[in-house]
């Protein structure tokens, strides 16, 4: 039995060697580019005027016409992949990030060791894929100690927005949005095309994708904070608020 296992491993190893040789051949045309890092920056803006968004700053929601000051705004982005000019995809392994408006965290998603070449699209999932919601104790960015996992109703809090609002019931608002299954599943894959200019990955050369995201969009369709200021479980409201936010995230520009 063990011998058989060894043989299987041996054959697999040989097969792998061949596969990787083949892969190298495929990438002949990108040989003059060197592996490098790609950064996706999420620039947060507020409302249709796109004024600068930041935590601990009083903002007025243009549709609700209510004042609010965020002290937490963060969300999961996962499974980032890049589409090369030849149509092939580079998928980052173990690709999980918390995009955090707080300077103690980061609004940057960094994809290390991307094969050199030119890229035309980026795809990412807002939220955490269902597999990781059902696979037990995770580590790193997915560690429940990050405060982004429900203890009593297993699953990731995919987006957390908290702060104060004078019109809200207790003077505060708390939105923990998540839910990974059924009709109210929150996680959503989005793909963005860079248009005419390709993203060039070539060693230390800067390769930065700028996305614009607008937290005010959470309340496109949601009730005023004076009516509803807390939602902390998977449900239809979590679905609609997060969809409204994710759908409005747009590609802005790239830095090469």
């Amino acid at each position: 039995m063990k011998f058989l296992n060894f043989l299987i491993i041996l054959i697999a190893a040989i097969a792998l060697t061949f596969t990787s040789c083949k892969k190298d051949d495929d990438h002949d045309d990108t040989d003059h580019f060197h592996e490098g890092n790609v950064t996706i920056a999420f620039d947060h803006v507020w409302g249709a005027t796109e004024e600068a968004f930041s935590l601990n700053k009083e903002l007025t929601h243009p549709m609700l016409n209510e004042k609010m000051t965020f002290n937490i705004f963060k969300y999961y982005v996962s499974n980032v992949r890049l589409k090369a000019k030849d149509g092939s995809w580079y998928a980052m392994p173990e690709s999980y990030f918390i995009v955090d408006a707080d300077p103690s965290g980061s609004n940057l998603v960094t994809i290390p060791n991307v094969p050199g070449g030119e890229y035309t699209d980026v795809e990412m999932t807002f939220g955490v894929d269902s597999t990781r919601n059902t696979s037990g104790a995770q580590s790193g960015v997915l560690d429940p100690a990050k405060g982004m996992f429900w203890s009593w109703n297993s699953g990731y809090i995919m987006l957390k927005a908290e702060g104060t609002a004078p019109t809200a019931a207790n003077g505060t608002f708390t939105f923990h949005l998540g839910g990974f299954k059924g009709e109210n599943k929150v996680q959503t894959s989005k793909s963005y095309n860079f248009g005419t200019t390709a993203l060039v990955v070539d060693g230390d050369r800067e390769a930065e994708i700028h996305m614009v995201a607008n937290p005010a969009r959470l309340w496109h369709g949601a009730e005023k904070l004076s009516v509803k200021s807390v939602n902390t479980m998977p449900n239809a409201l979590a679905k609609s608020m997060s969809s409204n936010y994710y759908d409005a995230v747009r590609f802005d520009h790239i830095h090469n």
Binding site: F3, A145, W152, N153
Partner: protein
């Protein structure tokens, strides 16, 4: 050429031999269970089960360091003598004398259990301890703080490193260790098990009880684990706004559904039901016989010919209880390897 072949063969044999050795070392410690048990639901995967990992989990299970004021451990409400249910109290006390709102369930054969908590809200054994550790009326602690405390504890730092390698303690390691301990809590040596294994015979009443049980109870309390792990509404009078499974799904059709508990060790784990409302097995069987209240979500198995409940005579009830006593596993509740 031949010598070359022999050398190659020797090389293979060496590798083969080494791996066999390794398997043997491991087989000293592992999840053992009778052949009539199904395959465990939990797959250890990255969480390699070892004696040291199990012992670390055991130390953590008995250590109040997991609670905010170091007063409550897992074992405070899950006592081995009661098959890891609480000490026959209806509700359990957490930090500052705060009282929980459900009966602490027994803990055994958890490697076969796909969902956790009375409402089935937890989908994986590894993240189960996250709930009591952080619940305000249980241990009231944050995961972050537990990890900080463990990192400052030289004994734990050393033990975590010997189990998980030289890396900082993370909640995953805490959960892995606790899971190793919890999954090893296998209860499979009750009189019922010895009967199944042909080691003992049942009395006439026990045998009768088993047959009545099979006819009236086993559709939900399925052998050999004595639960089918489903969530059902069993017609309890509604006395609180605890929606059970409905609290998790927000679907009205799931209201007042609770997890079907295993009946192994049931004689030790009174009081019964999610809120501990019944003190004796007689009261439980009376409920199923004639105490049921209609609810739109009432389990279909509990209605026959328009009548609620499972009709049972007093003699049948007594025989069922006699059979249920055979599910008590004295080896399990006195096994020193599960003790502090």
């Amino acid at each position: 050429m031949i010598r070359h072949k022999i050398r190659f063969l020797l090389f293979f044999l060496l590798i083969w031999g080494t791996s066999c050795q390794k398997d043997q070392d491991k087989s000293d410690f592992g999840l053992a269970y009778p052949d009539y048990f199904p395959e465990p639901y939990y797959k250890f995967g990255k969480n390699t089960l070892t004696k040291e990992g199990f012992e670390l989990g055991r130390a953590l299970f008995f250590d109040p360091i997991l609670s905010i004021d170091s007063t409550i451990s897992c074992a405070s409400c899950h006592s081995q003598g009661h098959a890891f249910a609480d000490h026959n109290t209806r509700m359990s006390f957490g930090i500052d004398g705060k009282m929980g709102d459900r009966n602490s369930p027994a803990m055994f054969n958890l490697a076969w259990q796909p969902i956790f908590m009375w409402d089935g809200g937890i989908n994986h054994i590894e993240v189960m301890p996250f709930a009591p550790i952080t619940n305000d009326v249980e241990m009231g602690e944050t995961l972050e703080n537990v990890i900080q405390k463990l990192k400052k504890h030289p004994k734990y730092v050393q033990r975590f490193q010997s189990v998980f390698g030289e890396k900082p303690i993370e909640s995953q390691q805490l959960f892995y260790a606790l899971t190793q301990y919890m999954t090893m809590l296998v209860s499979d040596d009750s009189k019922y098990d010895q009967y199944r294994q042909g080691k003992v015979s049942f009395t006439i009443d026990e045998e009768d009880g088993l047959q009545i049980f099979k006819a009236k109870c086993a559709s939900c309390h399925t052998e050999p684990l004595f639960t089918d792990f489903s969530l059902r509404n069993n017609g309890l009078e509604i006395v609180s706004d605890d929606f059970g499974f409905g609290r998790i799904t927000l679907n009205e059709e799931d209201n007042y559904k609770f997890k079907v508990p295993s009946l192994r060790n049931i004689a030790l784990t009174y009081p019964y039901m999610h809120d501990g409302r019944f003190r004796t097995l007689e009261q439980v069987l009376d409920h199923y016989d004639k105490g049921m209240i209609y609810h739109p979500n009432l389990d279909k198995n509990l209605i026959s010919n328009g009548k609620l409940g499972i009709p049972m005579s007093d003699v049948e009830k007594q025989k069922i209880i006699t059979f249920l006593q055979t599910l008590t596993d004295y080896t399990f509740i006195s096994n020193p390897i599960f003790s502090e």
